[in-house]
Amino acid sequence: MRSYPRKGILLEQNKEPGLSKEIRILPALPVERSELPGPVSSTPDLLAPYEIVSIAKEANIVDEIDGRRLWKKLAQAARESVSGIVVDALDDEPYISSQLAPTLQFPEQLHQGLRLALRAIGASKSSIEIYRNLFDLDTRIPSSIMGVKVDRISGSYPAESYARRRMQRNSTLVVGACALLFLQRAVYEGLRQTSAFVTVTGDCVANPGNYEVPLGVSAGALLEAVGLITNPKRVVAGGSMTGFSLTDPSTVYLSQTTRGLLAFAEEFQDMGYACLGCGRCTEACPQGLSPYFIYKVMQSHRKHHIELADADLCIGCGSCSYVCPAKLDLAQVMAQAAAYTHRRQTSGGQP
């Protein structure tokens, strides 16, 4: 069992009731089958590595964790001769379970996809990473899925970005679980990726759960199809910690990397609190930065201190904003400070 950030925050995960439900295809939004040209290989286990890569290219599979095309990742990994593949099913952000649910519900397909990817890059080692601090689950996380070891990542949010970074250090390829499922479908059934797994949840959603949704559907149409209890005040595409809030859901279209769609009934209210200086953000920051110090420096005229604070190391996880009792938008301040630091460094000390 590994634990990533020494600091960070523990979050209520709120993954139920979405996770334990079956992944469904909405009748209102049917997924179109788009078949690859040429016959489906009857012996997928005997395909050559380049054949798997070109099938992945034909099938237009995009890895949901970083938005890169799967075939490019596989080709690069084969060139660099990496030692193994880690399947990313971490889902450490609250509400989102669009990687974990497919992993638990289609273990055979995932295993087949993993074997194909391993052969494509000529590696043998593999493991599946799942976040461990999931206390509200009805389902248990198994210790191995189809003989592949499951690494249960303990530690606080943000575990995912740390896991990914460590993998890249150890020259392992990190691939999202959904991308492997689509690779399996492409090779075994000859289908292109025309859909994505999306968690639709939030307190406005009548029927929260994980859905397989055709690509290019608008967020508004998806919410309509799933059903709303009340009109949402906030709609978020992506994770609850790092996603984007939408002004008009009907003009935003889902892509392969949209892992969640959240609809909340309540708006945040500005209580007019000022920074107390409690230092909780400094305690929470997984990078060991001090958002408090950066906030104070950015507000003041003593901006030469900004070099000390190393704001450019911020990974944008949003933990500081989450814990702030004054509800300040610290993540935004950190991003501004990072840009300011960058400007200062590139212009030789003077912004």
């Binding site: 970074r165 859901p249 909340f264 945040f268 200086g277 409690c278 000390l308 604070a309 702030c324 935004q332």
Partner: protein, 343 residues
Amino acid sequence: MKLRTQNPPHIRSRESNLTMMTDIVIATLPLYAMAVYYYGTRALLLGGFGVIVSSLADGACQLLAGKIPNIRDLSGAVTGLLIPLLLPASAGYSMILLAALFGIAVAKQPFGGMGQNIFNPAAAGTAFAMICWPKSAFAYPIPFERLPAMVDDTVRLVSSPAYSLSLGGTPNIDLLDMLLGNVPGPMGGTNILVLLTCLIFLIVRKTVGLAMPAAFLGGASLVALLTPRVDAPALTAVAYELMSGLLVIGAVFLINDPVTSPKRTLPKIFYGFGTGALSVAFRHIGRYEESFLFALLVMNATVWIIDVWGEHLAHAMRRKNREFKTNPPVSEPAEQDVGAAQK
């Protein structure tokens, strides 16, 4: 459908300034209950008076500064609740009034109000009142003698154990009585056991950390151990020093004031240790029997410097840490064509 956008994260913790301040208000309530038990309902009158004066002063100062008065965060009320606890139960209303006004209108709002003040308002106000009325600020009523609402000459006032210590004598008081608060002293400062319970409550609620109070009491005990003032066994002398005066109530409420304390752990320990050591050292050289508040105010003035030092230290640690040297933040590798991979 037109919605308002908001920056991530889209979920926030339930804790807010209000809950933090409410925690502190809750932690002062047992002290007021004990004060009512020892001195009668006058304790509540003092507390209520302090809250009203400082909340009004807070709102008025915000109005003067051109802001919309916002006393919902209870910070003014907390100042008003703490000031009577630091003074004798026989303190006059004028003393509370002046302390609260000084704390809010001189030590807090001119610096920019909530979160911007350099000095703890309750400590600054009380210290000011102590300087203005040195006699009545250090003459305490006897526990279990009910005080009238208006204190007059008929009330018997005595000196506290801190005074005997300052004269070099051993207080003729049982240590158990000092733990329970059955000694003359500041209204909220004598109930050591209750204060420690409040500290545990605040630590469990994560409103305060363990580092600063522990370092503070550690620093105070160390200096008390090295420079004993009374002719008693070393540990007894340290216990007398810690339990007299305002050290324990300071460790619970004043040293932990989030606004006027450092943010990183090491600076917190340094600040706590320094304040503790300085307050006991001031007892040797100061004119007053209790000089914790002055030590606290001196240390408050250095907090920004300590914070900057802490950032220097963290910066140096990060530079030393090889993780950041050898692994700069992950960048996207250049994409290349598939032909190269297929060979």
